[in-house]
């Protein structure tokens, strides 16, 4: 059992951003959300996180409506890594990862030894142990994403939502971040722009266009010349030349219209 969205809709500025979208991520798998800018990926992730409420439809966590679960309880189960984050405070890497313990702590009580142990573990799993005392401001984009993932892990989530975590990263760090997420024993939903990265790492893909699901399934089923032409208006050649026979998309040019 995990997160589930049933026919969720949401409007913004008089326009339907999401129009009756279903999403049932498989437990323990990595689901990729694809689609052009404005197709509703970010909105769908925000609905799944419970930060935004659907105008119609229902998001459930283990079958319970998300708005009945309570914000703190949601945050103990579902962690979010935003596209790009910044702070004005002078925080160390460890300070940022500690934020992940907030939903588990009570008011008036300092962090417990158990909290510290979880933080240390999250730092280790993301390979940040040696960087724990560095300041956030001095980190590169890839390192910041890694720290945010470590913070998310400190929440001890079973569901992890990531909104274009590879944006603004160089190619090495893009692969690095996604292989880190793919190796985690959580149910993850990742919004991505890069079709090849999605094909390489995701177990399952959902393609959105203008707020609706236009395709879903395994990468090899979903990524077709037709789909890329229809959704992105791009001419592409798709082979199974990716790692482990995964689909590989080679772009040939834009299509008219």
């Amino acid at each position: 059992m995990t997160l589930n969205a049933e026919r969720v809709s949401r409007a913004a500025g008089g326009r339907l951003v999401l129009d009756g979208v279903d999403l049932s991520p498989r437990t323990g798998a990595m689901t990729g959300l694809l689609g052009p800018n404005g197709s509703g990926k970010t909105t769908l992730l925000r609905l799944l996180a419970g930060v935004l409420a659907p105008a119609s439809g229902l998001v459930t966590l283990d079958g319970r409506p998300l708005h009945r679960v309570g914000r703190r309880d949601v945050a103990r189960r579902v962690a979010v890594v935003e596209q790009q984050t910044d702070t004005q405070l002078e925080l160390t890497v460890r300070d940022v990862v500690r934020l992940g313990r907030i939903p588990h702590r009570r008011a008036w009580t300092p962090a417990s030894a158990a909290d510290d142990a979880v933080v240390t573990d999250a730092l280790e799993r993301t390979g940040l142990t040696g960087q724990a005392d560095r300041l956030w401001h001095t980190l590169s984009g890839g390192e910041r994403q890694r720290v945010q993932i470590a913070r998310a892990l400190a929440q001890e989530p079973r569901e992890l939502l990531l909104d274009e975590p590879t944006n603004h990263l160089d190619i090495q760090h893009q692969l690095d971040v996604l292989s880190l997420v793919a190796a985690l024993p959580v149910t993850s939903v990742v919004a991505l722009h890069d079709l090849n990265l999605a094909a390489m790492y995701c177990d399952h893909l959902v393609v959105l266009a203008e707020g609706r699901v236009v395709a879903r399934g395994e990468p090899a089923e979903v990524l077709t010349t037709d789909l890329v032409a229809k959704v992105y208006r791009v001419d592409a050649e798709i082979t199974s030349a990716g790692p482990a026979g995964r689909p590989h998309v080679r772009f040939l040019g834009t299509l008219p219209g």
């Binding site: 930060v51 004005q88 405070l89 300041l135 401001h137 001095t138």
Partner: protein, 358 residues
């Protein structure tokens, strides 16, 4: 924004690695000692020539300890017990309260320039207080602190409304605050100039610039009660305030009920600001400057930041007020004038630093 400029802007962080900055209770303990020492010394300083031993024996006598203060005239006794001590204590309460308000507002609004004075809350509270004092608004049913509170809430509501409709970004909040500050200052001046006689005008203006001159024990008790209440509420939200480090959405994703938290904490800071303005006028910049200085000592965690902020603000304002009442003695400089003289360069420094870290 390059990592080099980030590193350069954080002097405490050679090569981006920061040495241990946390002695868990060290700064709080140091603050308590510094505050007690400051109050003890500050009450012995003043234009009336009263010996140090006499001052302390008067206070000891009133507290019911010591041998009593024989040989000290009732006038001198009154100067120490009814003027100097409440004034010094009120300075401590105001400094503590303003610094805590500043720290909370800065975190909540994610703006390093947020402070009750900059956001126009103090001006709104002044207007409310002046309406009660000069025009008798409320017909006696409304006390001066009550009027100040309503004024503070009105101006805060205006700032939130303005900044929201202007786009809600952090710089908009400050711009809206400046607009509110100007509006309420103008309203206050208008009321004072048109409705008050010369005597009231002088008294009110002196008080609007921020002055602890009228401090009495009732101000001390009211201020302390509100300070303790608001500080308790803020400390209860310490962990929640930490969650705002990466913005409202990130806080929501960490399980914070953002709208409720904002409402509670904004009302709490408005209440505290109102209580302080009602007894000491609009003292600017304490809330702006102190939290930044303290954050560099304690780190950004609010459970440690807020108590140390309160103590540092208290010590700071005790000394600034001592300076204000002695530097031109027997003339008195309004304490708000001194805090602004110190605060404006610090304000520029904060602006300069945020420019470099952006």
């Amino acid at each position: 924004m390059t990592s080099a400029s980030r590193a350069a802007s954080a002097p405490a962080s050679a090569s981006g690695i920061r040495a241990s900055r946390r002695a868990p209770l060290g700064w709080t303990a140091a603050g308590i000692v510094a505050l007690c020492a400051s109050v003890a010394v500050a009450v012995t300083i003043g234009p009336a020539d009263i010996g140090v031993a006499d001052v302390w024996s008067v206070i000891a006598a009133h507290l019911g300890v010591g041998t009593g203060a024989e040989g000290v005239s009732p006038i001198r006794d009154g100067i120490v017990w009814d003027l100097r001590l409440p004034r010094t204590l009120l300075a401590a309460v105001c400094g503590a309260g303003l610094a805590v308000c500043g720290a909370v507002l800065q975190s909540l609004l994610r703006n390093p320039l947020a402070d009750p004075f900059v956001l126009g809350v103090s001006s709104g509270a002044s207007t409310g207080a002046v309406l009660v004092v000069v025009l008798g608004v409320g017909g006696g049913a409304l006390s001066v602190p009550g009027g100040a509170f309503i004024g503070a809430v009105c101006s805060f509501a205006l700032v939130m409304l303005l900044s929201h409709s202007l786009g809600g970004t952090t710089d908009r909040v400050v711009l809206a605050g400046v607009a509110a500050m100007q509006l309420f200052s103008a309203l206050t001046s208008f009321v004072v100039m048109t409705a008050a006689d010369a005597e009231t005008t002088r008294g009110v203006l002196f008080w609007l610039l921020g002055s602890l001159g009228g401090a009495g024990w009732s101000d001390v008790w009211t201020g302390t009660a509100v300070l303790v209440l608001v500080l308790a509420v803020c400390l209860g939200h310490a962990r929640t305030l930490d969650a705002f480090a990466f913005g409202q959405d990130a806080a929501a994703a960490l399980g914070v009920q953002v709208a409720r938290t904002r409402l509670v904490l904004l009302c709490a800071t408005a209440l505290l600001t109102a209580a302080l303005v009602a007894s000491a006028g609009a003292i600017g910049f304490v809330g702006l400057v102190l939290p930044h200085a303290v954050r560099s000592l304690t780190g950004p965690g609010h459970a440690r930041l807020l108590p140390v902020c309160a103590l540092a603000g208290a010590v700071f304002l005790v000394w600034v007020d001592t300076l204000a009442r002695t530097v031109l003695a027997p003339q008195e400089v309004p304490v708000g004038v001194v805090t602004s003289l110190i605060g404006v360069p610090a304000f520029v420094l904060v602006l300069y630093r945020t420019r470099r870290t952006r």
